[in-house]
């Protein structure tokens, strides 16, 4: 099951929605989330939800103390980690 996620991503020719991935694997989206989280922990997938604007690195505009309010833009994206 886990390896199928990587295989589908490697063979995909265009971006997939989570819904489509769930349909292809015939698993519930909630189960898929657990598998994705596992691969993210193992460093094989990257989840954009875990990448911030860089508040820790010091957002240089300093316009907003709680971090850049524009960083939330954009949807969540999960991709294979490039091992090349």
């Amino acid at each position: 099951m886990l390896y199928q996620i990587l295989a589908i991503l490697e063979q995909a020719e265009e971006p997939l929605s989570l819904h489509e991935l769930s349909r292809r694997l015939n698993v519930e989206p909630s189960a898929l989330e657990g598998m994705i989280a596992f691969w993210v922990r193992k460093g094989r997938l990257r989840d954009s939800a875990a990448v911030s604007c860089g508040q820790q690195a010091g957002c240089v505009c300093n316009a907003h103390r709680q971090g850049c309010p524009l960083r939330h833009s954009g949807p969540r994206m999960i991709a294979l980690v490039d091992s090349r």
Binding site: E14, L16, L21, C53, S73, G74, A79
Partner: protein
């Protein structure tokens, strides 16, 4: 009756190792407090707590056996053994679920699915995206313009008069302090803050698109375009963030795996028109193309995307020639009706960031510009009472003006504004207002206005702005003919800017204005963006961005102005 238990077994190579280890652990007194099979599974999966317990029992035979088991399994499966074991468990659960759960052959189609069939359609998706963008910028200009006009009138009228009266009351009237506050702070910072309604409307539209779930679809649709040109589809996400601000957009390139892809995308991000440039577009478009301001601004945003793709293709086939892009999964959340509270929160936070920036960077820039405008060169005139034509700012700006002369805006006012725009793009507007306000003669009729008349003017002006905005909104819905023009910028400022560009372009002010807008769209990003670029990609790539974008902007503006002249375009 309870269903029969379904035994779970790992594949035989793993089971063999588990059994061997379990037997050994059962014979090790320090480990007998754990169930032996469970302990063997945890040890093979590399559970840190269990490995520490095994380490603590100081039994070399146990350690060696565990190491040997893991090595043998790695040789069999060619991967980390914990992945293989977790995969097996997921497969087991999936098999049971498949047998126990009956799913419909065709999953039910939700409303989101039905909308997506149209919105993310292979051929319809991109035209829909362009229409949505057009609506956003039409809304941004047409609806916000009356409020911009109202704030400008309040700042240049009642606010300036009250400030002058207050300063006169405390003994600071008529001198350098009054000039600093009115010509420097109110004209500079206030001039930029007048565009808050524009940004407020833009952030409203962005929040609406994000919260409704459309923004994810836009990225999905644009991925196809990016791939068509050999670019990485994932690059479009940072580029979308770039519509708001280039700084978080460059940070957003961290979602890309390859460092080279990150650099390439980081170089393209500043071509996406950030919200700080919007006040410049609105100011110039409202002066020169009042009936078509929305279309002009939409065209600028589109130009930014086209140039970004063009430069990306060029770089991909030269400096960044490399491997094909890796595919990815995008979360397409179900469409939702955005909640007013959430929309308001986003609008408020983002607008507040802009206002804070106006209170720091733009305020500092405005004071420096005021100082340079107040200092006479050649010792002609007195400080503060200096003719702006003879000011240090004009002198310095004239040094850069020849660079912009072939582009049609080689007057010192425009050149100076573009140079100060390197600090932050909003400063272009602040500088233009300060420079041209300084050239205006004082308004005599202003001093005679009473407080009640001023208050009446503010309230009446606001009411009129609301009415005009509503009319514009209705006009967008197609109820009116849509030929009405949006409220012009304050007449004096508009006349002065038009006269300046007419002189610098030999009477082709419209073309010069268009070239100016294209230059603002494409030229060197602000210092904050350059700093982030250096932080993320290093000094070399920051310099490429700085110089490369200036060259591209210069060439594009040259093409617009000289090309327009050659084609005999009269605007």
């Amino acid at each position: 009756m309870a269903p029969p238990p379904i035994p779970f077994r790992y594949p035989s190579p793993i089971e063999r190792e588990i059994e061997q280890l379990a037997t050994l652990f059962a014979q090790t007194p320090a480990l007998t407090s754990y169930p032996a099979r469970w302990l063997a599974i945890q040890a093979l999966e590399g559970d840190e707590g269990i490995l520490a317990a095994i380490e603590a029992c100081h039994d070399p035979e146990v350690r060696a056996a565990l190491m040997a088991s893991r090595e043998r399994l790695r040789a069999v499966y060619g991967d980390e053994i914990d992945i293989v074991m977790v995969d097996r468990r997921y497969q087991f659960v999936h098999d049971i679920a498949s047998r126990a759960v009956t799913r419909p052959a065709l999953p039910p189609t939700t409303l989101s699915d039905r909308i997506d069939q149209i919105v993310t359609h292979r051929w319809l998706g991109i035209p829909i995206f362009l229409v949505v963008m057009w609506l956003v910028f039409k809304l941004t200009t047409d609806v916000a313009a009356p409020f911009v006009d109202w704030i400008e009138r309040v700042l240049s009228g009642p606010m300036s008069r009250w400030t002058a009266a207050l300063l006169g009351f405390i003994g600071g009237g008529g001198g350098w302090l009054e000039s600093l506050v009115i010509d420097g702070v109110i004209a500079g910072v206030g001039g930029v803050l007048a565009f808050v309604p524009v940004l407020f409307t833009l952030y409203f539209a962005l929040a609406l698109l994000e919260d409704s779930g459309y923004m994810a679809r836009a990225a999905f649709v644009m991925d196809r375009v990016m791939r068509l040109f050999g670019l990485h589809g994932k690059s479009f996400l940072p580029l979308i963030v770039g519509f708001g601000c280039s700084v978080p957009a460059i940070y957003a390139t961290r979602t890309l795996d390859s460092y080279r892809d990150r650099i390439l995308t980081g170089l393209l991000v500043p071509f996406m028109s950030c919200s700080a440039r919007l006040p410049v577009y609105v100011l110039i478009a409202m002066i020169f193309f009042p009936a078509q301001a929305g279309h002009v601004i939409f065209g600028l945003y589109l130009t930014g995307i086209v140039v970004a793709i063009g430069v990306g293709v060029l770089l991909r086939h030269t400096l960044f020639r490399q491997q094909p892009a890796t595919p990815f999964v995008l979360e397409l959340p179900p469409y939702r009706l955005p909640t007013p509270a959430q929309i308001w929160r986003q609008m408020w936070e983002r607008t507040l960031a802009f206002v804070r920036n106006a209170g720091t960077t733009i305020l500092a820039a405005s004071v420096v510009i005021w100082l340079l405008l107040a200092i006479p060169v050649n010792r002609e005139g007195q400080a503060v009472a200096t003719d702006v034509e003879q000011s240090a700012f004009a002198y310095l700006a004239r040094l850069t003006a020849p660079v912009f002369a072939p582009l049609g805006f080689g007057n010192w006012e425009s050149s100076g504004a573009l140079v100060t725009g390197l600090i932050a793009k909003e400063v272009v507007v602040a500088t233009l207002i300060q420079v041209y306000v300084g050239e205006e003669p004082p308004a005599d009729e202003a001093s005679s206005a009473t407080l009640s008349a001023d208050l009446g003017e503010i309230v009446y002006g606001f009411g009129a702005a609301v009415g005009e905005a509503m009319a514009a909104l209705v006009g967008m819905g197609g109820i009116t003919s849509g030929t009405e023009t949006i409220a012009p910028v304050a007449n004096e400022l508009a006349t002065a800017i038009r006269a300046g560009l007419t002189a610098s372009s030999n009477g082709h002010a419209g073309l010069a204005a268009l070239a100016f807008l294209v230059f603002v769209l494409l030229y060197t990003p602000c210092v904050a963006t350059l700093a982030v670029s250096r932080h993320e990609f290093g000094l070399r790539w920051m310099l490429v961005s700085l110089l490369g974008q200036f060259a591209i902007a210069w060439l594009a503006a040259l093409l617009v102005f000289q090309g327009g002249l050659a084609l005999g375009i009269a605007i």
